[in-house]
């Protein structure tokens, strides 16, 4: 069965450093992968999408990589700030999947310490 894994333990990073979050998947032939941010008690907010034929995407201080050989995506936040503290979700749509084919990981809680 399809499976997406994110580090379930909280990630503590010092302000100003680069935070790197990992999303691993199995049994997928992916179409694309998305990253979302979720603050406590709120709905997720879309951040970035990367397609299976793309290696890297950037948006301001955010960078996403996608390695279909390793079946892994890395999400980087450079020059991290306490305001970046949140839970980050990855979601993968597999090739040929319909609208119900978007599967979410359980999220990684990121804490940026001043």
């Amino acid at each position: 069965s399809q499976k997406i894994e994110q580090n379930s333990e909280a990630l503590n990073i010092q302000e100003g450093k680069t935070a790197t979050l990992t999303c691993n998947y199995t049994n997928y032939s992916p179409a694309y992968l998305q990253w979302y941010r979720q603050d406590p008690g709120r709905g997720p907010v879309f951040l970035l999408l990367i397609r299976e034929n793309e290696k890297e995407k950037r948006k301001e201080r955010l960078k996403v990589t996608f390695d279909t050989t390793l079946k892994q995506s890395l999400f980087h936040i450079t020059a991290s700030q306490p305001a970046d503290s949140a839970t980050y979700l990855c979601a993968l749509l597999y090739s040929g999947g319909g609208a119900d084919g978007l599967t979410f990981g359980k999220g990684t809680h990121l804490i940026i310490q001043p």
Partner: protein
């Protein structure tokens, strides 16, 4: 900006009550979704709809039904609420073509339901 509005942020209901959760989106999106989110289990798809009056079961449809009579509105119904349906419910919408998902999901703020 796309806006997905859920009717209630917090609800408290009793076991056996019928519960309606309403969701409205303002961007003419074809696809609409209902998820529930529980600690340690992540987001799980209950139902989705890719067109008016069209609905398909997600991963955990048992105990739920949905209604989509208008393109902008997608309702989740708990016919007889049970305590194990206490959860955060999230509605989302996206562009679509048939059953195909195009792009990202836009989520509402969530409805936290407690069933006593």
């Amino acid at each position: 900006d796309v806006k997905v509005t859920q009717s209630s942020r917090y609800l408290v209901k009793r076991t056996g009550e019928k519960v309606f959760l309403e969701c409205v989106q303002d961007m003419d999106h074809e696809n609409m979704f209902w998820y529930r989110q529980d600690p340690g289990l992540g987001l799980r798809l209950i139902y989705f709809s890719y067109d008016v009056k069209m609905k398909e079961k997600g991963d955990i449809p048992e105990g739920y039904s949905v209604s989509r009579e208008k393109k902008e509105r997608f309702s989740l119904i708990l016919e007889s609420a049970s305590t194990n349906q206490t959860s955060m419910y999230l509605c989302a919408s996206s562009l679509g073509r048939g059953r195909t998902l195009i792009g990202e999901l836009f989520f509402g703020e969530g409805s936290r339901l407690t069933v006593l």
